[in-house]
Amino acid sequence: MGLQDDLERFREVGEKRREDLADFIQYGDLGQSGKDDVRIPIKIVDLPEFEYDRRDQGGVGQGDADVGDPVGQPQPQPGDGDEEGDPGEEGAEHEYYEMDPEEFAQELDEELGLELDPKGKKVIEEKEGPFTDLTRTGPDSTLDFERMFKEGLKRKLAMDFDEEFLREVLKIEGWGPDRAFEWARGENVPVSKAWIDDAYDDVPRDERTTWSSIDELEENVDREPVQQKIRREGIKQVPFRREDERYRHPEIIEEREKNVVVFNIRDVSGSMRQNKRELVERVFTPLDWYLQGKYDNAEFVYIAHDAEAWEVERDEFFGIRSGGGTKISSAYELAEELLEEYPWSEWNRYVFAAGDSENSSNDTEQRVVPLMEQIPANLHAYVETQPSGNAINATHAEEVESHFGDSDDVAVAYVSSEDDVTDAIYEILSTEEEAEQ
């Protein structure tokens, strides 16, 4: 009663409190998640209180340490387990709600109001599914023995009865086969009249009055339930019938595999400071998860560029910072090259680039735009991360936008703070959605 109700109450409250996706993407800690595994912090639901700011509070530790040494995370303590104090004492902690990219994609769809259905490039593969189809014939090795046995057992139970006891019933004084048959029917014993008649004939004359009544009989003789009899006699007594045989087949499943390759391009030149880098991460990471969730097979290519471009690994991608100037076309040239591995006929392609819109003069007009037109893809996108609004010479995004206008395979988004992140993601994803319509 009490606990079940209270657990129920807790679940209801908890469902409402999970950090919502938009908050997570824009402000949350993305660092705990991996490529395939999205971990969203849930504050273990608790009521608010007047509390100290955790960071400002500091704390006490034990160990051989010098002033200035780094300190690890505080550990949960005993006293969390067997304290007799008020349970509400310990503050909120973080647990993670884990989801895979598919669930993430679904949730993001819901949250952003999208309904993107990945289309295009499909490869049909026939696969054998679970062995659930049943037919009446087949190779011996696929016989569903269990089913057959169960049928047989059912049959036996339906037909079997305690013969010994019945014979004794026939020895009741004043009863005969008719009376015995009546009684048997009344007891739901599945015996035929013919059998009783035969059995009666077998009873020696002088034994036909052994018992004075059914009660006396029941007092002196135990009935053996059928199950016990089967147990005693063994399962050889269970009749198997041809008509009970079933053979199992695998289902044939046709799978359509959808492939996608996502190119993430980032300006890593000197002007891309920490805050801009973080904004890029907040836009790209969810996009990657989303696409990974929507497609069966996703690959990711990461390109960093300043005046030149080079390929990098995912874990380096967001952190790199180099010194030089910026030439965005270098990245697209490299992308074009690498995309040869992923033919347009077989692969869905997304080419996302991000930076602060700074580019060498004319590079956008003369080289990037043509390259974007040349490289076939489901979607090209440029994300401008410029916290302080516009800077001079930072016009790449604008130029791309004015050139491609309402094109349904190019999206441009502007992000000047965390608050803009989900809008940017929406902008990008909905461009493709519009294209579908």
């Binding site: 387990g81 104090g85 349970p87």
Partner: protein, 672 residues
Amino acid sequence: MSFDRYEAKREASKLQEPVDEARLLAEKLGLEPYPVNYWIVDYDEMNELIAYGGFQHRYPHWRWGMQYDKQQKQGQYGGGKAFEIVNNDNPSHAFLQESNELADQKAVITHVEAHADFFANNEWFGMFTDARGDDEVDAAAMLERHGRSIREYMADPDVEQAKVERWIDNVLTLEDTIDQHQTFSASHLLGGPDADGEELDDDLAEKLSELDLSDEVLEEVFDEEWVEDQEGDGAAASFPETPEKDVIAFLREHGKRYDEEAGKAVEFEPWQRDIIEMLRAESYYFAAQKMTKVMNEGWAAYWESMMMGEEAFAGADEFLSYADHQARVLGSPGLNPYKLGKELWEYVENTTNRREVLDKLLRVEGISWRNVADTVDFDDILEQLEPPEALDSITSDALDAVAELPDKFVDREALERAREGEVDVDKYPWKVLTYEGLARRHYSLTKRQNRGFLKRVGQSELERIGRYLFDDAVYESVDEALDDIDHARGWDRMREIRESHNDVTFLDEFLTQEFVDENEYFTYEYSQAAGQNRVASTDYEDVKKKLLLQFTNFGKPTIVVQDGNYNNRNELLLAHRYNGVMLDIEQAQRTLERVFDLWGRPVNLMTIVKTVDEHDIEVAKRRNREPEPEEQGLLIRYDGSTFEERELPWEEVEDIAASDVDYDTKPDDWLA
């Protein structure tokens, strides 16, 4: 769960003997526990009990569900195995898990006995019961009554259940804003702005509590008019006159609820006021536990160890399991309240015993606090302080040796019975000794891990002891002095302290540099420059401050009612007593929303925040220094739908910033 089910299990014969013997041993060791009823429960029941704070019947609430959920997970995934739970009541009820091994059970039983002694003797536990007298705590009954009342309110067709639940939530957010240093008084603040429960005749207050009247009756009889008559005329200058620490009581008295339809604040429903008071009473009840956690857990750990380890309450074959048990409880990294408590108690014991030894030594002719180094050979002394062999190992064949020990150590009557075979001396050697005998037997200074303690005494302490000795030539020899030592001083003093202190005073008085050094404590703070926590100080004053921050006022910032008629519009003004550590502003805002629900009119919170410029952080990082934060007064206002923040000039917040202790322990040239 019902008590009936336990009845049967209660007679679990296996545990009856350890339970009985543990009680006898505890008493021999000088403890005076409440009677304890032991119940055996299974793993789920244990988790349920813990989730409900040690009691079976509480008001319905999702927090219990949350706690239960959390514990089940910890048990599954972490090492957080729950061992026991015992509640502060007379008699106490202790619950043991049926699946635990015998060694664990014994450890738990000895642990529980020590807790029961703490509950029975610590005066902070007495505060709740002062009005009624020690024998009638019956916390279980009170909590059950509350549970029933609240359930009735929820079932009342005129009252929406969700509203009741939300109301409880509101009150719970403020459960720590009580005045835990005052005796709990149901009539506190009753009867109007000028009445203060304490100033109301003390006798009257007590009598009111004794009568155990419902609030409705109290208000009927002792209404504003009546009280004002008692107080005389004259409007107060401000309301409240002095800042009120018991915020819940203030809200109960003067709060209103906001009626959406009417568009204004109206009186509480009776059930609302009732719930506030019930939860407030519960808060006061549990306050004692919260305020003495370190001491209490340390106390229990100390005596458990004494009984199990030293007195070998655990049999030889159980000892390894016991060592494992201890390791699990005391071994987790980071700040562990059990460990801190136990270490402090041991430190208290050692320092008291050391002081006693030195007190005697300094009264030997020729020895003074100035020449100790030259005249005293501590190694020799330590040898002489060892307990006599006969006291150390007692077996049934060695009873003659025991008989020859001085009277004060030997329980003669028990010894006789032992000789006659009525007492199992091999299993329970302690039975033939007295309290003094046991104290001698377990003398702390000669234990292996404490052997350096005596000679480590600092010069200033020697001076402190020796300077004001009037009779400083009482003994002719060291031997004579040592003979006169009271070996039970340590334990005696420990018992005194467990009566009078709480965690704050305990830490404040006994945590010294020696303790911090010996046990390697340090403080850490968050460094903006480094972007992570760094060790800030190993100075004992700083360690103490940081610990006090965690324990003073339940580790929560102090919030008081500053003004009940702020802006002359009946707005509430709460003030944060700033001590160098900021509030979690986001939490504070969410809490203010609840306070609004309890006040009915706009609510304000005055506090001080520290800000650091992004730019300053970058600069500081480059220079490897910590950026200087700027302190700024802040007022947060909530009117039921929107928040407003306003910076306050320093003069306005000076009062709340006035604090002799700054809990920030970052050193000046921290990361240089």
